[in-house]
């Protein structure tokens, strides 16, 4: 049997942390882009498109991320796409993040006073101009703290990619725990790493929130 020192465990976990960070970034950026696109559809003038987006959000918020990842994993395979864990996990997490971000941002747009829409309309702006010059700049300011906060959810969500064979922090932690027969120590280390990754983001989101909430 190979002996693992604490240093071996930590070193391997830190190496695995790269994939957690990478997957988080893919999911966050991908989810943001898809979410922005869905938001535009949701805000558009066609009510049935808006309802479709609402149903999309409802579906992704109403079934577990684990099931979404399995669906992405087996579904992509069924459609003949190579189901490397990267593709499946990236696609699953992107869709998941897009649903949540769309909903978060929709709330932020709704928080912009209605008079702003009306005023910009009275200036003969079209829908695109209203969004671009009047509504989105104001909504953006409200949207930043909850968006940063959601990044924590995405980072934690990547832990589930381990179940479809993605070698990130959780999966590597489990493998090392099986190899060393010391799950208590290994999972403690894994938890500490996730905490070190997430807690600064949480704190940052909280401080941003305080800044936005200062009554002016």
């Amino acid at each position: 049997m190979v002996d693992f020192t604490l240093w071996d465990i930590v070193r391997n976990l830190v190496l695995a942390l790269r994939w957690t960070v990478g997957l988080s970034l893919i999911a966050f950026v991908g989810g943001g882009l898809v979410g922005l696109f869905l938001l535009m559809l949701r805000l558009g003038k066609r009510p049935w498109v808006g309802r479709l987006v609402a149903a999309y959000v409802q579906i992704f918020q109403g079934i577990p991320l684990l099931v979404q990842l399995f669906l992405a994993y087996y579904g992509l395979g069924l459609f003949g796409i190579n189901t490397s864990p990267w593709v499946a996990a990236g696609a699953g997490l992107t869709l998941y993040a897009s649903a949540f971000l769309t909903e978060i941002w929709r709330g932020c747009v709704a928080a912009v006073p209605k008079g702003q829409w009306e005023a910009s309309q009275s200036l003969a702006m079209n829908f695109g101009e209203q969004l671009r010059y009047i509504i989105l700049p104001q909504a953006l300011k409200i949207a930043i703290p909850p968006t940063v906060g959601f990044l924590v959810q995405v980072i934690k969500g990547t832990a589930l990619a381990s179940v479809i064979g993605f070698m990130e922090l959780t999966k590597v932690g489990k493998t090392i725990a099986n190899a060393t027969f010391n799950p208590f120590l290994v999972f403690s280390c894994v938890a500490v790493m996730y905490f070190l990754l997430c807690y600064p983001v949480s704190l940052y989101a909280k401080s941003l929130e305080r800044k936005v909430n200062v009554p002016s």
Binding site: Y74, P183, F187
Partner: protein
């Protein structure tokens, strides 16, 4: 390319699915009852909305650390820590009790933060009025502060409860026989993986919408009185 979906083979295993739904709901219900109580207790410990701290500082700091650690680590790690890690330290648990404990610990931390926001929004005059009626501190908390606070934060709490219910799907990873475990078992029997997960996806969707409806009806009716 033609894709043929065969839901019949999945639905034929309905007893497994039913057991899964049963476990998912049982775990959620138990976790909600104990977890919300834990959250309320933690919120009380951390609350300092009435001018003075309610609990000793060290206790408040400990609860604060618990809340932050749980909220900043993934549920699956908490579950693995309890199921695989604790036996090494001498606590042996069944998969079901480990799942239950993990869900309680998880919901407790989130509920503490949600409820605390409600407690701190209590108008000061309410407390002063209660004090002038010679109510004890505990009476004030239970009868004057908690009901309106719960009413205020109930929608947020319901959302969190649903997230915990959906999170219970992870418990299948330690072979708790809940819904996603049932899907895993079914697909290993008939290789209908995609269909199996579509079916349980739909079941989860129905469960989460039903649970939201039930809790939104239950809360106002039984928990904080009135419409």
């Amino acid at each position: 390319m033609r894709i043929q979906l065969d839901f019949g083979a999945v639905l034929a295993e309905w007893p497994l699915l039913l057991t899964g739904v049963g476990w998912t709901l049982a775990l959620t219900l138990a976790a909600v009852l104990v977890g919300t109580t834990l959250g309320l207790a933690c919120a009380w410990v951390r609350g300092r909305g009435f001018g003075e701290a309610l609990a000793p500082r060290w206790l408040s700091a400990m609860v604060g650390a618990y809340v932050e650690v749980i909220r900043n680590t993934p549920f699956i790690i908490q579950l693995f820590f309890i199921f695989f890690g604790l036996p090494a330290a001498g606590f042996r648990l069944s998969a079901e009790s480990a799942s239950f404990i993990a869900m309680v610990v998880n919901l407790g931390a989130y509920a503490a933060e949600i409820i605390r926001a409600g407690l701190e929004a209590t108008p000061k005059g309410q407390i002063e009025a209660a004090v002038s009626l010679a109510l004890t501190r505990l009476q004030i908390f239970i009868r004057v502060v908690v009901p309106p606070a719960m009413k205020k934060v109930w929608p947020g709490l319901v959302s969190q409860i649903i997230i915990v219910m959906l999170g219970s799907s992870v418990c299948g990873q330690i072979s708790t026989e809940e819904l996603s475990y049932a899907a895993d078992l079914i697909q290993s029997r008939n290789f209908r993986s995609f269909e199996a997960f579509i079916v349980i996806g739909v079941i989860y969707l129905v469960l989460s919408m039903g649970l939201r409806y039930a809790l939104n009806w239950l809360g106002p009716k039984f928990l904080f009185g009135g419409r």
